[in-house]
């Protein structure tokens, strides 16, 4: 006998009833004057924790009870369905839960750390070149409108650098649509970046930091490294897969406010980005070693780049009456700034914010090029 409530399905009226079942497979209620029903014609909801169980009858009526044990007992006696209650068995077995927790954490970590990057790399290499061409169309136009203005470098200087760029490309396969462009950075300051269609943009401010053109070559190689490794495409695929993964794992958790997923996603994406910067650095480093270019040039340029964002450098450049057209004065400004920043920062501590950065810490990057 199983105690519970009976609802006809026509109204919300509730009747307290007791359900009985017989060995021959018929089910009925003591209190109600209705015919017994064959067990095969009723539908018993699967067990879910200690939530109530529902039995639905062919006439639309429903029996609700909290006595899960009795229902399980009845199912065992009358039904021959090994799958009934399987989910509940898994969900309530302590050792299985513990195993699942470990497995999910381990898998999640491996998948995000290694799975997504590897799989994005595979896909990016499989996709035709045109895929990259389509991406980021109009990015340079938008940046020209928003930030850049025309380069102030002389035609002669631009030609020199383009020749340097082409001489680097000679040794690189599949680089025929790579091209170099110059812009006055303005707010962007000293910077260089590669667009997916093969355009590499250098700002005048960055060119002007270099004492030796091999320093510029080192940065060119870093940007070429991004292009060779299809980094834009990979970043897009990674972002998409990570989004899908988060969606699958969190499911429809409406209580989780966005910050709960936003912070881990930001951390992982920074990790991906740092990984790609390191790859581009590696490309530059390999090339320089192979073609007997001193890797120190990259390190020197990184130090200058970092120092060029300092207040001291900006003040020094602003004080130049000729707006930095004098090469020697310009170089003195940056070298002073580098010396100053070297004397100031001796701490090796990685700050918490570094994990959110899109680039590895400059010190790490510089050290790699100094050693080799």
């Amino acid at each position: 006998m199983i105690k519970g409530s009976y609802f006809s399905g026509e109204t919300s009226d509730k009747k307290d009833v007791s359900l009985y079942y017989k060995e021959d497979g018929f089910v009925g209620f003591y209190e109600l004057n209705i015919d017994d029903v064959n067990f095969n014609d009723i539908n018993i909801s699967s067990r879910l924790g200690n939530t109530p169980r529902y039995i639905n009858f062919p006439d639309g009526s429903q029996f609700e009870t909290l006595d899960n044990v009795a229902i399980d007992d009845m199912v065992k006696k009358l039904a021959n369905d090994p799958l009934h209650g399987l989910a509940h068995k898994l969900e309530s077995t302590k050792s299985f839960i513990l195993f699942t927790v470990v497995a999910v954490i381990l898998f999640g970590w491996l998948f995000v750390q290694y799975g997504i990057p590897a799989f994005s790399k595979q896909i990016a290499e499989l996709l035709p070149e045109e895929a990259s061409q389509y991406m980021g169309q109009g990015v340079l136009d938008a940046m020209d409108k928003g930030f850049f203005s025309e380069s102030k470098l002389t035609k002669k200087r631009q030609n020199e650098l383009t020749q340097l760029f082409n001489s680097l490309l000679k040794n690189i396969e599949g680089s025929k649509n790579y091209q170099l462009k110059f812009r006055l950075g303005g707010k962007i300051k000293a910077n260089a970046f590669a667009l997916p269609d093969g355009t590499i943009v250098f700002t005048d401010e960055l060119i002007n930091l270099a004492e030796n053109d091999l320093e510029i070559a080192a940065i060119m190689l870093h940007e070429i490294g991004h292009l060779k490794n299809h980094h834009s495409l990979r970043a897009t695929i990674q972002q998409f897969s990570l989004g899908m993964f988060v969606m699958v794992v969190t499911g429809d958790v409406s209580t989780s406010s966005s910050i709960i997923t936003a912070i881990p996603v930001m951390l992982v994406e920074s990790g991906f980005s740092q990984g790609m910067e390191t790859e581009a650095d590696n490309y530059s480093l390999e090339y320089m070693k192979k073609h007997k270019i001193e890797p120190n040039h990259f390190a020197t340029m990184m130090e200058k780049l970092e120092a060029s964002y300092s207040m001291e450098y900006q003040v020094c450049m602003d004080s130049l009456s000729d707006k930095g057209n004098n090469r020697l004065k310009r170089i003195k400004c940056i070298n002073d700034a580098v010396q100053l920043s070297k004397s100031e920062s001796n701490d090796n501590d990685k700050s918490a914010m570094d994990y959110f950065s899109t680039h590895p810490s400059s010190k790490e990057r510089i050290d790699r090029f100094r050693q080799k």
């Binding site: 969900e91 699942t100 991406m135 699958v248 499911g251 429809d252 914010m353």
Partner: protein, 384 residues
């Protein structure tokens, strides 16, 4: 606690909702859901969703009877597959060009009101209490009418702003004129928001049914304006206090050291101290007051619902939930869901006139899952 009072000869009893879910028990269900979802490459997610909802419905009791969620996982899976394809197309479109992205976004936006209606219908038709289904009238024309005015105003705003940006980009002659019209439109949008929220809530409630009994909604536009006016007043008060404290601190630092970088060093910490409670309050206030306003004005055949959420306690819940989830890499997510549901149920009740036995069921068709799942993928949670 039940309290009884006699009014005009009818017996009114305040019946509280009860939530009997346990964090430990739900943890097992949750982690198995996650594992099976990963193992089946997302396919099990439909079953996971149904089991999760069934757990929360089944543990919510009113007058000794539970609620039941009856959605068919296969139907949800179908919706998810379509939503996934749409999501991929949208992602691809916005990566190929901003133009395609904007086009896809525009089309999706046009469909939002329809999704909203389908999603409500799906959820309510799959909610059962005492073997009587809830229901929702699929009235598409009125939902599009409600959306029409805000869409026109928003489009005008986007158009004016993009024109302005265009003029900055192209017109190098002199400083570009900032159209005063932008402010007017922004003002209209802000002033319209509470009215619009009322309209949409009113629509949702008034088209809902339990059995054949209509829901009625007694809140007014005025209630919604008050909710936001109070919010703005508190925000102003907080800003004034923060401003005063900030100037105080700045003055303090100036007297000791002239180096501005010294102060900048502490900026992240300061921002954290100020911004986190600020957001917490805003979230909790809106969640609390909106829910209270909604449930304190619903009437189903004379039975009135009641909700008494407290902003302070919600802040505490949100804060401890977020902290717990972050510190345990998400493992406390089930615990957070359970305690939130328990608190919500504990302050919600129904003033039952007589008893709850006289509702009459109506026969309904089953609603396709597409609307609800599309809504979920694009992050619009529309449930009660």
């Amino acid at each position: 606690m039940e309290s009884t009072n006699i009014e005009n000869g009818t017996n009114i009893v305040n019946k509280p909702f009860e939530f009997t879910g346990k964090a430990g028990e739900f943890f097992g269900i949750w982690i198995v859901n996650v594992a099976l979802t990963i193992l089946t490459l997302g396919i099990y997610s439909a079953w996971a969703k149904v089991r999760t909802n069934q757990y929360f419905y089944g543990n919510t009791l009113l007058d000794g009877s539970s609620f039941r969620y009856t959605a068919n996982p296969k139907q949800i899976l179908k919706g998810r597959i379509i939503a996934f394809i749409v999501f991929m197309l949208y992602f691809a479109a916005s990566n190929v060009s901003p133009f395609f992205g904007a086009g896809a976004f525009f089309i999706l936006m046009l469909l939002v009101p329809a999704f909203l209606v389908m999603s409500m219908a799906f959820r309510l038709k799959n909610s059962v209490y005492r073997n009587v289904r809830f229901n929702f009238d699929k009235n598409f024309s009125s939902v599009y009418k409600i959306f029409a005015i805000p869409v026109v105003v928003m489009s005008a705003y986007i158009f004016v702003v993009s024109q302005f940006q265009e003029s900055i980009a192209s017109g190098a002659n002199g400083k570009p004129e900032f159209p005063i019209f932008v402010f007017v439109l922004l003002g209209i949008i802000a002033l319209m928001a509470p009215w619009w929220e009322f309209m949409i809530t009113n629509f949702r409630v008034k088209h809902s049914k339990y059995g054949n009994a209509d829901f009625s909604f007694s809140a007014t536009t005025k209630n919604y304006y008050w909710l936001y006016i109070k919010m703005v007043l508190v925000l102003i008060a907080i800003s004034v206090v923060v401003g005063l404290v900030a100037t105080g601190i700045a003055a303090l630092f100036k007297s000791e050291t002239a180096d501005p970088s010294e102060i900048m060093q502490y900026m992240p910490v300061l921002m954290f101290i100020i911004i986190v409670p600020f957001y917490l309050w805003l979230f909790a206030y809106l969640a609390t007051k909106r829910t209270n306003l909604l449930y304190n004005n619903i009437d189903i055949a004379g039975h009135k619902t009641q909700s008494d959420l407290k902003t302070g306690y919600m802040m505490y819940l949100y804060f401890t939930n977020t902290l717990g989830i972050l510190l345990t890499l998400g493992l406390l997510m089930p615990w957070a869901k359970i305690r939130t549901a328990r608190y919500r149920a504990s302050v919600t009740s129904v003033n039952v006139v007589g008893d709850l036995s006289q509702f009459v069921a109506i026969q309904t068709d089953h609603q396709a899952a597409l609307g609800e799942e599309m809504g979920e993928m694009f992050d619009m949670d529309l449930g009660f």
